[in-house]
């Protein structure tokens, strides 16, 4: 189910991908068969279908990003994106339609900031699992202001991940976590992975008699913590 909180999390991740210049991640916010269009208020009012960007597949969005990397489209600048989901509804089980006004500020190498684009995302969200099962809609129409090339989006894929910490390795936290994991069923249980550190959990498993559960988990030693894929800007 998609609720406002998840939409906000999505928009935050979307804005972060753009502001961190991780543009190669941008197409992944969209369904494989999407409709992405940047237009202006006048065209929208008159029902004119063209866009300054018009893509009906995620692959077309990937081609857009590939073109950005070409030497003739350069810009020494960064962006700061602000957004707020103000309106949303769930027309069908699992999907949602939302409108999210946005403002993109461009920060030039000289330090000067200016409004690069303002407008409203008109999104149709679908959950990825349902999309795979053949859900009809994905698509998004987006509104940019006049010549502003805004980014917009729709997307999908909102697998929820919950991190549970063990607490004090010498306390009862590790045992509680293991018992909680043992109580999970079905796909929730499968969603659990990468548990660490191994030595603390092994001790807790011995205490709780849940060694069998531990064997099914991807348990890693404390020293093997992977680094985040990319340090975020500070």
């Amino acid at each position: 189910m998609i609720d406002l909180l998840r939409l906000c999390a999505f928009n935050a991740a979307y804005a972060q991908a753009i502001d961190n210049d991780e543009l190669e991640r941008w197409p992944s916010f969209f369904a494989e068969q999407c409709l992405y269009r940047i237009t202006n208020v006048e065209n929208e009012r008159e029902g004119l279908p063209a866009g300054i960007v018009y893509a009906d597949s995620r692959a077309m969005l990937e081609d857009r990003i590939a073109a950005c990397a070409r030497p003739t489209s350069t810009s020494a600048s960064a962006t700061a994106t602000s957004w707020a989901s103000r309106w949303w509804r769930r027309p069908t089980c699992g999907g949602a339609v939302a409108r999210t006004p946005f403002l993109v500020v461009r920060i030039m190498a000289t330090g000067e900031s200016s409004v690069f684009a303002s407008g409203e995302y008109r999104d149709r969200f679908v959950l990825r699992a349902q999309a795979a099962a053949g859900r009809a809609h994905r698509g998004v129409r987006q509104h940019g202001d006049r010549h502003a090339a805004g980014a917009a989006a729709v997307r999908r894929r909102m697998t929820r991940r919950i991190a549970v910490t063990l607490g004090d390795p010498n306390g009862i936290g590790p045992e509680i976590v293991l018992k909680a994991l043992a109580a999970l069923r079905g796909r929730h249980a499968r969603a659990c992975h990468r548990v660490r550190p191994a030595d603390v959990l092994e001790r807790a498993a011995a205490v709780t008699g849940l060694q069998a559960l531990l064997a099914k988990l991807d348990v890693r030693p404390a020293g093997a913590m992977p680094r985040p894929p990319r340090a975020s800007a500070t």
Partner: protein, 414 residues
């Protein structure tokens, strides 16, 4: 005020002096001599004025203009400036009206631009009002001559400009008609802000030399290459041009690769090549035709992607490019989708047109300190005869000098 003409060194020399840096004085002269001079300026499409009362607002240079269809089926155009205090008469970009009324003091105008109503013309309770000698017919916004050709509405402030077909010339007319041979529909309108003087954009349109060198997309996907069959035609006035080319899949060539040109990148592939998928709709094999009409009109056919563009100056160092994307009224849904997808090539964020929007700014910044210096603008000979595409005399042969000459002496002006 001193006037600086662009000077040529004579036959055989490829250089000319860089255009004088635009000044407020030259910008004013351009408005008066070019835009309000003996030229035809594109206003809108006739298809955008579907019925009596339909109007659009636009500009001729920086002069705001209203274009409107009246009950007689004719299109009229007049300055969008109230005769009273000079306020805009129409504020919207388009609409439908019986009459126009200025919001400021409610003076009203009919669809032909005549002043027909003055609020409290006779005063209030016998006091005040306009003098008895006041005659509404003598006051009104300036009217433009209007000419409609193949669904394109042109307007002129000049009484001396020749009729539109004579102004365009036979060859330009034929190539406008080639594209606009049946009713069109607007499928979108966009504005591209150009960070440069308007003339740099117009010159870029006429410069077919750059197209396959700047635009990686054109060259890599063989949409346009100088080695393709095609040509350039410049009309007698030097003001208008057509360049065209034909994709010939059988005639792949290695000339770009051999010169190591950036724009031919064999590693660049599209994940979704459907953006370039198209269909044959013109029997002549021409897959790209770019046509310009002096001073600021462009008609574009890139495969199935059709558009008209209007170039408007916005001060000395900025310009506005107004795009109107079109399809034919009898398009099938599949054909319409092809046009929508191919429109990714053009417009403010177009794979091709975005680069045209940028290079004008690069030139403008590059020549900032170069007043009086020379630039090489000519290639392929000094003749203005139509050029056929046979390297090593590229198709751009005729494009440089006539363009520059036109700034000196507007088409149709003595």
């Amino acid at each position: 005020m001193s006037e600086q003409a662009i000077q040529w060194h004579g036959a055989g020399s490829p250089a000319c002096r860089t255009r004088p840096t635009p000044t407020p004085a030259t910008a004013r002269q351009e408005q008066e001599r070019i835009f309000r001079g003996a030229t035809w300026n594109y206003l809108c499409l006739e298809a955008e004025l579907p019925e009596a009362g339909s109007y659009r607002t636009t500009f001729v240079g920086d002069t705001p203009v209203i274009v409107v269809k009246d009950d007689d089926g004719e299109v009229y155009a007049f300055e969008n400036r109230c005769a009273h205090r000079g306020a805009l008469i129409a504020l919207e970009k388009s609409g439908s009206v019986r009459d126009f009324q200025c919001v400021y003091h409610a003076w009203s105008y009919n669809r032909q631009g005549d002043l027909i109503g003055v609020a409290f013309e006779k005063g209030v309770k016998g006091q005040g009002g306009m003098p008895a000698s006041f005659c509404k017919e003598d006051h009104g916004p300036r009217k433009l001559r209007v000419a409609v050709y193949c669904g394109l509405v042109f307007g002129s402030f000049s009484d001396d400009v020749p009729p539109i077909e004579e102004y365009l010339g036979e060859e330009i007319c034929a190539r406008i008609e080639r594209v606009l041979h049946k009713p069109v529909q607007v499928i979108g309108r966009f504005t591209q802000a150009l960070p440069n003087n308007w003339k740099l954009y117009v010159e870029n349109v006429k410069d077919s030399y750059h197209a396959s060198l700047l635009h990686l997309f054109f060259t890599t996907f063989e949409l346009n290459r100088l080695s393709q069959k095609g040509g350039v035609i410049v009309d007698e006035s030097g003001g208008h041009h057509v360049s065209f080319s034909m994709i010939d899949p059988a005639a792949a060539d290695a000339s770009y690769k051999e010169q190591g040109l950036r724009s031919d990148d064999s590693k660049y592939r599209l994940k979704d090549p459907s953006v370039l998928a198209g269909f044959t709709e013109y029997g002549d094999g021409i897959t790209l035709q770019i046509l310009s009409v002096f001073p600021g009109f462009v008609l574009q056919q890139i495969q199935n992607c059709l558009a008209v563009r209007q170039v408007l100056p916005k001060g000395q160092d900025r310009a506005e490019l107004n795009w109107t994307y079109i399809g034919y009224a009898d398009d099938t849904p599949e054909q319409r989708t092809v046009r929508l997808k191919q429109s990714n090539l053009v417009g403010p964020a177009g794979f091709i047109s975005m680069e045209d929007g940028a290079v004008g700014g690069f030139v403008q910044r590059g020549i900032a300190g170069a007043q009086g210096l020379e630039a090489i603008v000519e290639m392929g000979g000094d003749s203005t005869a139509p050029a056929k595409a046979v390297p090593p005399r590229p198709r751009c042969a005729a494009s440089g000098r006539p363009t520059a000459r036109t700034w000196d002496r507007p088409a149709g002006a003595a």
